[in-house]
């Protein structure tokens, strides 16, 4: 096995195949890595219900096999969870998780040699509280009755405990203010080729639809991870058909195109009043620091420029905390949306950071979290 190869695979364990998403390949691959001691720990989501799962770091193979699989309404990000832990670890990761992990590695908080990143194709995730409201308002079903969910052909489908499926197009949901988080709408990393291996259901065809995972190997580590799972008897694979490969590429292209359209829609250029716009958006800030704590690219710790230059007793119209973070994130923001998710006063922080980052990153031709290139501001050298 080597970089660039593609497969379709599934778990050999019947219960994992049934419970996990798309044949349970990812779960089995992670469990095999742990059992065969490729890693000391695995990060999984421990499912509480359809709308809640706790990220846990575990060394228990059974806990991995019993984990949640993917949940669109659990928008977590694992980069900060494994940072500075010095773990030999394997973990599932959406495109934004992968970008966070790579950025942490550039800041010496994660050692990529010891980190096996299983990328998950992602069309977007949803906030659980918004999802519950959406179920009641748009789908007219009780959240407690939901048994499973899936995104297929532009529709968000919920299966209820009575076995019925309820589908509404994502376009319609998003028009009404529901559906994916804003940052997911304009994200253009749909297949995480920045991970060691990219997995998802796009490109699975015929009888295997819903029962298998399409895999693309992106690195030598990714090849080892999959080969280990096969050798351990956890996973079976076969070559994908050409039709599947073409379908996957087409979905990727379409999704990326939609992401770009959303980006144009959200980030309408502003000619005047930019300072006032930022000041107004930030005026309710309560200095909680959650946006920094959750930021998967920030590795500064408690003592950092944004906090040290800031004093709550200052009466500036815009705090130094935010000004420093705007500067820092201009070349480092990956647009994951976590800061907006956790802001207690609902400041659309990701949108604000992206206002700077879009311009800077386009001009510098730099996409953070996609490869090992250092952030351009790191490269700046002061000449006396």
């Amino acid at each position: 096995m080597q970089k660039g190869e593609m497969y379709v695979g599934w778990s050999t364990k019947e219960d994992v195949r049934k419970r996990g998403g798309s044949g349970g390949l990812v779960t089995s691959m992670l469990a095999a890595a742990l059992e065969k001691k490729m890693v000391d720990a695995v990060v999984v989501l421990k499912k509480i219900n359809e709308f809640e799962a706790v990220p846990v770091i575990t060394s228990d193979v059974n806990e991995v096999l019993n984990s949640a699989g993917s949940l669109h309404s659990v928008p977590s990000n694992f980069a900060k969870l494994i940072a500075n832990k010095n773990l030999k670890v394997a973990l599932p990761a959406k495109g934004c998780d992968v970008r966070g992990i790579i950025e942490q590695s550039k800041r010496n908080a994660i050692n990529l040699d010891n980190t096996f990143v299983v990328g998950l194709n992602c069309g977007g995730s949803m906030h659980p509280v918004v999802t519950r409201e959406m179920l009641e308002v748009m789908y007219k079903i009780k959240p407690e009755d939901v048994h499973g969910e899936e995104i297929e052909k532009g529709k968000l489908i919920f299966e209820t405990k009575d076995g019925k499926e309820h589908a509404i197009t994502i376009d319609e949901l998003e028009e009404k203010g529901y559906g994916r988080r804003e940052s997911c709408r304009y994200c253009t990393i749909k297949i995480p080729n920045n991970a060691d291996i990219a997995c998802g259901n796009w490109g699975v065809t015929g009888d295997l639809v819903g029962k298998a995972t399409f895999v693309e190997i992106n690195s030598e580590k990714g090849a080892r991870l999959l080969q280990n799972a096969i050798d351990a008897g956890y996973v079976q694979v076969q070559k994908p058909d050409e039709k599947g490969v073409a379908i996957r590429a087409k979905i990727k292209g379409t999704m990326e195109g939609l992401g770009k359209k959303w980006k144009d829609k959200v980030f309408v250029p502003m000619d005047n009043g930019r300072l006032e716009y930022f000041r107004k958006e930030l005026e309710h800030c309560i200095d909680c620091g959650a946006c920094k704590a959750v930021c998967p690219t920030c590795s500064c710790g408690d003592i950092s420029k944004c906090t040290e230059f800031h004093y709550r007793g200052d009466a500036y119209k815009m705090s130094m905390y935010h000004l420093v973070r705007f500067l820092h994130l201009a070349d480092s923001c990956i647009g994951c949306g976590q800061c907006s998710d956790v802001c207690p006063v609902d400041i659309p922080l990701t949108r604000l950071y992206r206002r700077f980052a879009n311009t800077v990153q386009e001009q510098l031709k730099y996409e953070p979290g996609m490869d090992q290139r250092k952030p351009p501001y790191f490269e700046a050298k002061l000449e006396v």
Partner: protein
């Protein structure tokens, strides 16, 4: 590898869900499915690991076990029968409170002054209005500083505003989210209608005449009123003690000063910043049962160290009446109370009593139980105006209630005051009160001219409003 607990932030009674992860050190993580806060946390919630400072059971400064400390507490309590006070502000589970209430009998001090308020207002004071009803209100009137005191209400207010609500703030400082700002002394200018929803708070330092006045204003206009509260389970404690005699903090201070109380038992409550040191010094026995170290544990003769809140099993009820289950399994708090009471408190039967009191079959955080909201009768109120030239106003926030340091060692004052005193940026302000003098940094803010606002205590305060003199 790491233990993760689904829990509720004890910073106030808003009911914010979060995860606490034991990962070498304590970490907080965002529980985005939590209905009260959607996983969002305020400044205090983000600093929660600081609150959970480890504590050990002690008797007269010597380390011991929970059992031995509880037995010693039982001995000292029975030795001072008739002169014991049991204080709990409400930082405990409903199940623990039921046990504590049995132990305390007629000597229960919840700190708030229910006795000075008409009985028919108790339900209104105890259970607030659901947050989604606040978001749907047409006119919201604030008698709090939402940003400093109950920060998670801010997003609900902004959501209401987006839907067309008008927001009026009655406070010493202009609020960025308010459409109209009225100073507390000008409250007569406030125009309430039946579409108004009044948000205020109720706690051990509340001025009952102000509380009565706000209740009266709401009643006269037919407006709805909701009380926010500062302790993790204030609402649960008030509901479960609605028929019990609860005594105020002021009564406790008075009782200790006149020698009627010699032994004080504090359950998960630190009154060090609320009771004068000379008063606390008059106690023969100070017994503290808690899950975290604080100023009171350093002063206590007996410390009974039970598990911290995030490890507990039990039920909390938030300001809107939502019952929430803590995700831990610990019941050592109940165990210790049982040892002291000479009985065994069974969690399951206490939990059943809680469910019965709420009229629910199971605790479901997504469904708020139905509460009676009886109207209250006529109220006589005589609120006192601010009668000093300059006053220092203490804004009680979660850090202040828990005695935790915050990055707020400054006062806020008006630009005209700063100009009149010729204060320059970076300089300090001299503040004098009753012979004590301090120098503090200042922040210019849209504050009432004769007022200094502070979110921490400087040691010169005499209650929430302290007359002061200021100079450069």
């Amino acid at each position: 590898m790491a233990n993760v607990y689904s829990t509720i932030c004890p910073g106030c009674n808003f009911g914010c869900g979060l995860y606490v992860r034991e990962n070498g050190k304590l970490e907080v993580d965002f529980r985005k499915s939590s209905p009260a806060n959607a996983g969002k946390l305020c400044r205090f919630g983000m600093n929660l690991p600081r609150l959970y400072a480890p504590v050990k059971s002690m008797v007269d400064g010597k380390e011991t076990t929970l059992q031995e400390a509880a037995k010693e507490a039982a001995k000292r309590l029975s030795g001072s029968k008739g002169s014991v006070a049991f204080l709990s502000f409400g930082n405990i589970t409903c199940e623990e409170h039921l046990a504590f209430q049995k132990l305390a009998e007629s000597s229960l001090y919840s700190g708030v002054d229910f006795e000075a308020l008409p009985k028919d207002t108790y339900q209104t004071l105890s259970v607030g209005i659901p947050y989604d009803e606040i978001e749907a209100a047409k006119h919201i009137v604030l008698f709090i500083d939402p940003y400093e005191q109950y920060p998670l209400i801010v997003r609900r207010l902004l959501s209401a505003k987006k839907k067309g609500a008008k927001i009026t703030s009655v406070w010493w400082k202009d609020m960025p989210l308010a459409d109209e700002n009225i100073r507390p002394a000008d409250v007569s200018k406030l125009q309430l209608t039946k579409d108004s929803l009044v948000i205020t708070d109720f706690h051990p330092l509340s001025d009952v005449e102000q509380i009565k006045n706000v209740l009266l204003l709401a009643k006269n206009a037919g407006a709805r009123i909701t009380f926010l509260k500062p302790f993790a389970n204030s609402t649960g404690v008030y509901i479960l003690s609605k028929d019990a005699k609860q005594k105020s903090l002021a009564t406790l201070v008075e009782d200790i000063n006149k020698g009627a109380i010699k032994t004080l038992f504090c359950l998960e409550s630190d009154p060090v910043d609320l009771i004068p040191a000379e008063t606390l010094g008059k106690l023969t026995n100070l017994i503290v049962q808690t899950g975290s170290a604080s100023a009171i544990t350093a002063k206590a003769h007996v410390v009974i160290a039970h598990e911290p809140l995030y490890k507990k099993r039990g039920t909390l009820i938030n300001s809107e009446g939502r019952a929430q289950a803590l995700g831990g399994a610990g019941t050592s708090g109940l165990e210790a109370l049982g040892v002291i009471a000479g009985t065994k408190f069974e969690f399951d039967s206490l939990h059943e009593s809680v469910r019965k009191a709420l009229g629910i079959a199971a605790v479901d955080e997504f469904t708020i139980p139905k509460y009676d909201r009886p109207p209250y009768g006529a109220i006589q109120a005589a609120p006192k105006p601010i009668d000093t030239k300059t006053a220092l106003v203490s804004i009680y926030n979660p850090f202040l209630w828990f005695g935790l340091a915050d990055d707020n060692d400054f006062v806020e004052l008006n630009l005209n005051t700063a100009r009149a005193l010729k204060l320059i940026k970076g300089a300090t302000l001299k503040i004098k009160s009753n012979g004590s003098a301090i120098e503090k940094r200042f922040k210019v803010a849209p504050v009432q001219e004769n007022v200094l606002l502070a979110g921490r205590k400087f040691g010169i305060e005499k209650g929430m409003l302290t007359p002061v003199e200021i100079s450069r």
